[in-house]
């Protein structure tokens, strides 16, 4: 039984989805949101990304293998600066 529970926990941990909220500097128009979203979604392991102009924030859904550095680099690659505010596991 213990082995079984451990396996379930390990499985859940391995496939847990993480959610990062990132402040993004430099967005000036609605098109900026699409550029950032597309760049974030190109990362292997990012399942979804929502970017909002009014809050200047990106919400990114990703798995364990994605690093903070990758997320910030993807934002930087399209000309913006990101700052991670929070990361939660869902």
């Amino acid at each position: 039984m213990k082995i079984f529970l451990s396996l379930i926990l390990a499985f859940t941990f391995a496939f847990a989805q993480k959610v990062a909220v990132i402040d993004v500097e430099g967005m000036t128009c609605p098109l900026c949101t699409t550029a950032i979203k597309k760049s974030l979604k190109q990362i292997d392991g990012v399942s979804n990304a929502k970017v909002r102009l009014n809050t200047r924030q990106a919400t990114v859904y990703f798995d364990e293998k994605v690093t903070k550095k990758q997320l910030l680099k993807a934002i930087e690659a399209v000309g913006y600066k990101g700052k991670i505010i929070s990361i939660k596991t869902e």
């Binding site: 128009c29 609605p30 098109l31 949101t33 909002r52 102009l53 009014n54």
Partner: protein, 362 residues
């Protein structure tokens, strides 16, 4: 208007709006253009819903929409001005489906050369009349048009010891047209971020950038002013750089969006100006700022517009109706479209997709 797959047709005849006192030298000779806007909204998934907000021209003494018709397979639509700047917008939406999303708009637009006499402007400026309440919105800052900080410093420096309104306008116009240059690498008409331009000290841009800088400095100097977003419709009598068409008067205008500017002097009204086209003429014809042709256009475009163009609105940093996912909108010189929360690339007609044409009656 909720039935899908049913071709809907709507026709609206637009009435003229009352004339502003400034339209005293609208030309006698008119130009007529048949303008066709075709949309076929594209996305990289099979099933999707789409929303489109398309700017429509306003009516004035110098531009009149004589005929307006639209049809398509949209599921819903409205024409509204429900925004801070009264910008007329045709909103259409399509429910989630794998079918094409089509919209076809036809307009007949009549334009007349627009000029406010310099004699009137100078006389009105000397009278120094109070500003009417309804123009004070155009003294306010917006996100991209700050009126404090470095913009204010620049305005104070340019207009030092000046009290006459038009004297200030002339000095700001001269400074903007001399300092800025057209940067062909800028996408579309540019963002129009006047604050960033002055902060960075880089004065290369396109029409929205240059018009916004002009507007921001004017507002900081106490002169009501605004960008006027629109689209070129055909041949310019002055230069191919400012509009062209084929021998039969036909032009594909999908990427011909162009931003101009206006400023207000009580007693003379709203006065047309186009500082950005000075820089376009210089770049395209490879002319120096002091070339006689550039000098001639500089003298013309402080108080006139050639009307091979039609204006849509004066809106900056505002919210459309119905409210899109992304807001505020920087400007509405281009069609604005969203699929879920993704913004369609209005700088690329082929991927959006849209095709705009204009046929001048010769």
């Amino acid at each position: 208007m909720l039935r899908r797959d049913f071709l809907k047709t709507s026709m609206v005849t637009m009435g003229a709006i009352s004339l502003a006192s400034s339209e005293l030298l609208a030309g006698e000779k008119s130009r007529k253009f048949k303008v066709v806007l075709d949309f076929d909204i594209k996305y990289d998934e099979k099933n999707y819903e789409a929303k489109l907000w398309n700017p429509l021209p306003f009516n004035a003494e110098y531009q009149k929409v004589k005929f307006f018709k639209f049809d398509g397979n949209y599921d819903n639509y409205n024409i509204n001005r429900d925004n801070t700047y009264d910008a007329k917008t045709l909103f259409t939406s399509w429910k989630k489906s794998d079918k094409k999303k089509l919209l076809h708009i036809e307009m007949e637009i009549e334009t007349r050369y627009r000029e406010v006499s310099m004699k009137l402007i100078k006389k009105a400026s000397k009278e120094n009349l109070p500003l009417p309440e309804n123009v004070k919105l155009y003294l306010e800052p917006t996100e991209h048009i700050p009126t404090d900080g470095k913009i204010k410093e620049v305005a104070d420096k340019i207009t030092k010891n000046m009290t006459d309104r038009f004297e200030k306008v002339q000095a700001i116009y001269d400074w903007v047209t001399e300092t800025t240059f057209r940067d062909p690498k800028v996408l579309g008409c540019g963002i129009g971020d006047a604050g960033k331009m002055v902060e960075s000290g880089y004065f290369g841009g396109k029409c929205t950038d240059i018009s916004s800088l002009f507007v921001a400095i004017l507002r900081a100097a106490g002169i009501p002013s605004r960008e006027v977003f629109g689209i070129r419709l055909g041949k310019s009598e002055f230069s191919k750089a400012l509009g062209k068409s084929d021998a039969k008067g036909f032009a594909n205008i999908s990427t011909w969006q162009h931003c101009r500017a206006e400023y207000f002097i009580p007693g003379a009204g709203w006065i047309p100006s186009d500082p950005a086209d000075i820089t376009k003429l210089e770049l395209v014809e490879r002319l120096d700022y002091n070339d006689p042709k550039v000098k001639k256009l500089r003298a013309k475009y402080i108080n006139s517009w050639e009307m091979n163009w039609v204006g849509f609105n004066y809106a900056r940093d505002f919210e459309l109706s119905p409210k899109p996912t992304q807001f505020p909108l920087n400007m509405l010189g281009y069609p604005y479209g969203e699929i879920d929360d993704e913004v369609l690339n209005y700088y690329n007609p082929k991927t959006f997709s849209f095709n705009f044409t204009s046929q001048e009656e010769l």
